[in-house]
Each structure stands twice: as C-alpha cells, then as structure tokens.
C-alpha cells in the first residue's frame, strides 16, 4: 500500500513504538483483570490486541489526514471486557474510571445512540490515557450477547464494501432487539435470585424455618446457624474427642431423600432424634479410645436414628450408607450391625 508521506511518518512512529504498545497492552490488561477480581466483578473475558501494521495502514490510507501524529489514533491498543450481565458493564466502566484518566470527549456510549425504533450495536467505548504516556487506548465493554451480535454483524461484512440485502440486515437487527430483551431477563433473574436469598436469610434468622423450602441455597443458610454443633459437642465429650470439620453438603440429598421439604423438617429431626443419635454414638465409641471424630458424625447418626425410629430398618440404613459412601456390599453388613446395636438402646425401646 502506497501511503502519502504524512501517513508514512505516522507508520514509522508506530514501528518504533510497537514494543512499547505490546508491553503496555499486557500490563494494562493485567491491571484491569486484577482490579476487577479484587472488586469481585466476575467477567466472561478480557481480551486485548495491538493494532497490526496492515490494519493501521488501511486506516491511514482512508483517513490519514485526520491525524496529526500517532498519538491521535486512540485504538492502537484495544481492550475488550465482556461481561455476563448487562449491569456489570457499568460496574466495569466505574472500575476503569478509578484506574485511568478517561478521555470523555472521545468516549462514546453506543447504548445511548439508538433511536427508540432502532436496534443494533450496543457497547460502551472508553478512551483512556496510558499512564505516563502521550498515547491513549480504547476499551470496549459489552455483554456476552452483545459481543456475539457484534461478531455476527461484523461477519455480515459492513466493512467488506459488499452491499448486504436489506432482509438480512433487518433479520440481524430483529435479533439485536431480542438479545436486548434476553440480557435484561438475565439481569432480572439475577436480581430475583439475590432477593430470594435475602428473604431466605431473613426467614432463617427469624426462626421461621417451616416456611423455607429445602434447597442448596437454603441449606447453606441453615448451616450458618451451626445446627449440628450441639449434638457434635455432646458426642465429642464422650471421649474428649477432637472434631474434624467436614462439609455437610452431602447431607442435603440425604435429608431430601428422607422426605424433608423445608428447613423446619430438618429442625424437627434434630429436635426429635438427637437423643437417639447420641445414644448410637455413645454405644459405638464410648468403649474405644477414639479421640477424633468428623463433624458429619452428628447428621449421620441423626439420620440413622430417624430411619430406625421411622421403622426403616436394615434396608433404610443400607440406603443411607449407599447415598453417603457410595454403593458397596459392606454397607449391608454395617446396616445389619447397626440395627442390632440400636435394638438394645433406650431410644428404640420407649
């Protein structure tokens, strides 16, 4: 490509400073990534590139006179931050405002340029100054769906110079409208979920456990109340044992399989079966010198006591072990032993 001398001079500047741009591109991306992570903003991707010589030559060939020097070209370094949620685009923008000096005159919010009856490219573009440098760089912020649309639109070839039939463009724009709705729905769902979690936490804190359906989220909120601690401490006191903390999450499925529909149902099991669970543990470890137990011993023995009280017998206990430990032939013999042991305990004879 034969460029005029002015454009050729700008291209020379680019060649000289290319190592600087490459280094800065990585450094700036790292800076943004670290800042977003520390602010707890989860994004789908951060990508960056340094404009190629071919691309710059094309730009200079088209509008080289518009630029007095390379510093006037703001997208030599281009970064893109792709978020999952539409609200996070503004959060990323706030982060950039904190990190860099934003050139407001040249930054553009493409989300606001659409008329009420037009749909299409949505993205927030910031031009920021590279610290301690005369150069600037561009950051595009958009959601995964906006990104997908922009790529499809790009493929349709607005830059190719080939005129695309109106019906294709119309279809593409219809899709843009639909993706806008989908993005909004995703955000709405996230907000609804946050609301739900907040309400559940409030219900759990106020003790209205019967109103809280049992699921992964609510079970976690319940665990924050340390519902098995009292029983575990009582069991540990038998041998002055150390309690080894383990996750209680495997018991979510167990409690569900035992028919628990609400946190209140688990609470009832704790209330009604703790004495039985304690008697089982006491019988098993009381005559040993075992002085270490898992924090899951409480819920495990609670479930055993509940099953036995309900008349679930050997089959019920075997099913519990299959669930907790995975199916194994030994689960049956352990279940048999437990039923036999428990038969002699007070809670089974009241």
């Amino acid at each position: 490509m034969l460029l005029d001398p002015h454009s050729q001079a700008i291209l020379e500047e680019y060649r000289t400073d290319l190592p600087f741009f490459k280094e800065k591109s990585e450094e700036l991306t790292r800076k943004v990534r670290d800042f977003l992570a520390s602010a707890g903003i989860i994004v789908a991707a951060i990508e960056s590139r340094v404009k190629t010589e071919a691309s710059l030559s094309g730009k200079l060939d088209l509008k080289g006179n518009k630029y007095s020097s390379l510093a006037d070209i703001t997208d030599i370094i281009g970064m893109r931050v792709i978020t999952f949620y539409i609200d996070d685009v503004d959060k990323v923008a706030s982060a950039l405002e904190r990190l860099f000096d934003v050139d407001w005159e040249n930054s553009v919010d493409k989300r606001k340029v659409h008329e009420i009856d037009s749909f299409g490219y949505l993205s927030l573009h910031y031009i920021c100054r590279i610290p301690d440098s005369r150069y600037r760089f561009e950051v595009q912020m958009r959601t995964v769906l906006q990104h997908a649309w922009a790529n499809m639109n790009h493929d349709t070839g607005y830059k190719s110079g080939v005129e695309v039939p109106r019906e294709y463009l119309r279809n593409l724009n219809r899709l843009a409208g639909m993706l806008e709705l989908v993005d909004e729905q995703f955000s709405q769902i996230r907000m609804d979920l946050t609301d739900y979690r907040r309400r559940v936490r409030a219900l759990v804190a106020s003790g209205n456990l019967d109103e809280v359906p049992l699921d992964g989220d609510t079970f976690k909120s319940f665990l924050a109340l340390h519902p098995f601690d009292q029983l575990n401490r009582r069991i540990a006191s038998v041998n002055q044992a150390e309690i080894h903390e383990q996750s209680f999450m495997p018991f979510l499925k167990v409690f569900k399989d035992l028919g628990c529909k609400t946190l209140g149902d688990i609470s009832s099991i704790i209330r009604d079966c703790s004495e039985g669970a304690y008697q089982i543990a006491c019988y098993q470890i009381g005559l040993t010198d075992l002085d270490i137990i898992s924090s899951t011993i409480g819920p495990q023995d609670l479930c055993i006591a509940y099953i036995l009280i309900q008349g679930g017998g050997k089959a019920g206990i075997k099913y519990l072990f299959d669930l907790l430990n995975g199916p194994a032939p030994s689960n049956e013999s352990m279940a048999e032993m437990l039923v036999e042991q428990a038969g002699n305990l007070p809670f089974m004879n009241q």
Partner: protein
C-alpha cells in the same frame, strides 16, 4: 507395624501390615512424611493386612487426604477389613475417603 512403599508411574502404594496404633503411628511418621510428598499423584493405602487402627492412624489418613486435596492428587483406601470400616463409620470418616475392595 510394617510398611512397604512402592512407586510406579504416578501411583504410590503403601502396604500396611499389622496394628496401626499410637506407637506404630510414631514409628512410621518419617516414612509417611515421604508419602505426603507423593500426594500430587495417586496414593493407594493397601490395608488388606491391617488389623487395627487407632485415632493416631486416622490422623495419618486425614493428613494424607488433606495434602492430596492441596496438591491435586487422590488417596485410595484399599481392602479394609469390616472392623476397620466400622471405625471409619463410627467416627464419620467413611464418606471422606475413596474406599475400594
């Protein structure tokens, strides 16, 4: 207690013979520290000839499991007797380990 340690490829097999009581746990501590260093891979604890396990023994197993979790490996407890399986169950540790016959 007698232990033998064999390493092939990415698998370290520890064969434990006899009673793993408090004294034995102290005796094998040095060897087990070397096994901890292998927990980025797979550690198989062959318990087919282990006749007893105490709290100290359980602690050795738990330490190995913790190290494996940090280093990205796994610990397989192999061929435990019914008596030892009961100890794991009574203490609530049974579902913590991958137990194979």
């Amino acid at each position: 207690m007698e232990i033998t340690i064999n390493k092939s490829d990415n698998v370290t097999t520890v064969r434990m013979i006899g009673r793993l009581d408090t004294t034995a746990a102290q005796e094998i501590a040095k060897d087990m520290a070397a096994v901890e260093a292998e927990t980025a891979g797979t550690v198989v604890l062959d318990c087919s000839e282990m006749t007893y396990i105490s709290s100290s023994g359980l602690r050795i197993f738990l330490t190995l499991r913790k190290e494996a979790a940090v280093r990205g490996g796994k610990v397989i407890v192999k061929s435990i007797s019914n008596d030892i399986r009961q100890v794991f169950m009574m203490t609530g540790f049974l579902n913590l380990f991958q137990i194979e016959d």
